[in-house]
Symmetry: C2
Subunit: 343 residues, 2 copies
């Protein structure tokens, strides 16, 4: 492939260059919405087997680039590989979600966890998947690696599963402050080592998902999240970092001030609100994933409004992962609308 046919749009925007239109990709694009994915998935015993089989993980990573024409690939994986590498195994229960048979409930549980490079390097199957993907993409589009944020991973490790309130994990913050900080510190060193290895093995950009930020508040976020996110942003210096703190609208200014290359926005943050806080930040998002259930003309109108309100320094995406039952033609219409746009 010659240089001219390579799509550097995402990297240009993250490098603050001006572009003709925003790049577009979708959170959770590698997976459940594509029939090609469901075919591979149904031949396997489970989701985790797919995550741990590099050739197949690479294949489903590339599928949306071929099928949807998105401007970036994101490696097919799971945020919970990090707790596993630190010593806490998990299962994925069909239609229920992740489940940890053993959870963290005390300082000594935290002390027993491994961390940093020693933990991260166990995830060889992820690095192998990145290498295969990188080779097969042949520079067509940039490759994104990702990790859960310390708080989000910690909440799963304490709750043992999803929760409506994450009150058990929050209780740990209030009652076991010292152990909570130690757990967050260990997670941070592991996330940094893991993201560095991902970059080394082929990721051009990395995104950190703080999916459960929305259960906290400004005080807790300042104390238990922002310092660790800051450390990640500062120490990852070989590729752009996108930070996505879902639901943390109350700390949006502080998140912008972390100085990451990009900041993800969830679907209920009005673009105008974000732009009022910062004209120059590269924001990523933030179409309501449910808007893709709507009519094509409505999808187009909403996408165009977001692009107009965001202007330059924008990566188009949804404000949450695409839902499994989204009509594929609507996803394509969304992508094509963005690709037809010009500033």
């Amino acid at each position: 492939m010659n240089e001219a046919s390579k799509n550097h749009l995402l990297l240009k925007v993250l490098n603050n260059e001006s572009v003709e239109r925003p790049p577009v990709w979708l959170m959770r694009q590698a997976g459940r919405i594509l029939p090609q994915y469901r075919k591979i998935r149904s031949s396997l015993s489970g989701f985790i087997e797919l995550v741990q089989t590099p050739a197949l993980a690479a294949e489903v990573t590339i599928q949306p680039v071929d099928e949807l024409g998105v401007d970036a690939a994101i490696i097919f994986s799971d945020i919970l590989v990090i707790p596993e590498a630190m010593g806490l195994e998990y299962e994925l229960i069909e239609k229920k979600g992740p489940f940890f048979p053993t959870t963290i409930s005390s300082a000594s549980d935290v002390n027993a966890l491994s961390e940093g490079m020693a933990a991260a390097e166990k995830l060889h199957y992820v690095f192998e998947a990145l290498e295969i993907t990188k080779r097969e993409l042949d520079g067509r589009v940039p490759l994104i690696g990702f990790s859960g944020a310390p708080w989000t991973l910690m909440s799963y490790m304490i709750e043992g599963q999803g929760s409506k309130t994450f009150s058990k994990a929050k209780k740990f913050l209030y009652q076991e402050e010292k152990a909570a900080h130690e757990l967050l510190r260990k997670l941070t060193t592991t996330i940094i080592a893991y993201l560095k290895l991902k970059i080394k093995h082929g990721a051009d950009v990395v995104q950190v998902f703080d999916s459960w930020a929305g259960v906290l508040d400004k005080q807790l976020y300042a104390k238990f999240c922002l310092p660790y996110l800051k450390q990640i942003v500062d120490e990852i210096d070989t590729a752009p970092v996108i930070i996505f703190c879902r639901g943390a609208w109350y700390s949006m200014q502080e998140i912008i001030d972390l100085g990451s290359a990009g900041v993800g926005l969830d679907w209920n943050t009005p673009p105008v609100t974000a732009r009022t806080l910062s004209q120059s930040t590269v924001f990523q998002g933030n179409m309501d994933p449910c808007q893709l259930y709507g009519r094509p003309d409505e999808i187009e109108t909403r996408a165009n409004t977001i692009m107009k309100e965001m202007g330059q320094h924008h990566i188009m995406n949804l404000g949450h992962g695409v839902y499994p039952d989204t009509p594929l033609e609507n996803v394509k219409h969304f992508v094509n609308t963005v690709k037809a746009h010009s500033y």
Copy 2:
């Protein structure tokens, strides 16, 4: 009971009078945190039996007034009695939550529902519970009645149960706009009739809970929620209305502009943010319920900070219902901290 021993603090604040300290009560105070409640509850077959037995519902409504010394009672009931009265029966599954065996999935399902006074007056057991409570309270503290908001009730009626994303209910908004408006209209007439009956039978204040506002965004909230909430606020003219739209930070100004007597704040809305939008609105909230897992001195510090930042025109409460495993002594310490406060 003579007039001097009656506590009108909540009504005074909602009437914009200045007071020495904020009134305090807790969402979900009638119930699970009290051993007296658990004793009654364990003698019954289920939660719904308790809701439908007026003498017992009255008893658990008054328990927190006696045990915690709060400044208001809130009738023990459930938001899903309204869908039931409209023709959609539900069950409460232990540790799982509400479940509707039949759900709404089309315009004809919506057409089959009854509405307004004809539906609301079926809920005689609620009105009877209010009358008993009112009589037994003998004016000690005001009595609060409540309802779910149209959108929140609609989401349960479509999803059939709780959901992480409420994407099925949101899909209905995008794909069945006309039927969605018809359902919301029917819910609104029923809620208005129901709240008027509650006031007639003893409620001094009513609160409307839009518990799932946080899954929407500014566009959807403006289109499918605010007009119906406005109608409720305008038509309930015989008692103060408190509107609590959890997670609807993106429409906070519009919610304030509805002109209700009080506006509830969830725990992640910084008090300063709310006060910046309005100095004169009566805000209710908004301590993090998980803060009550913390040490007494920390509970005190946080409560005092909230009261200082809120100033007058404030009803102290949590920003979400109290969690079942909250230590009772911490709840009492929270209440006593507020009662010891003076502006």
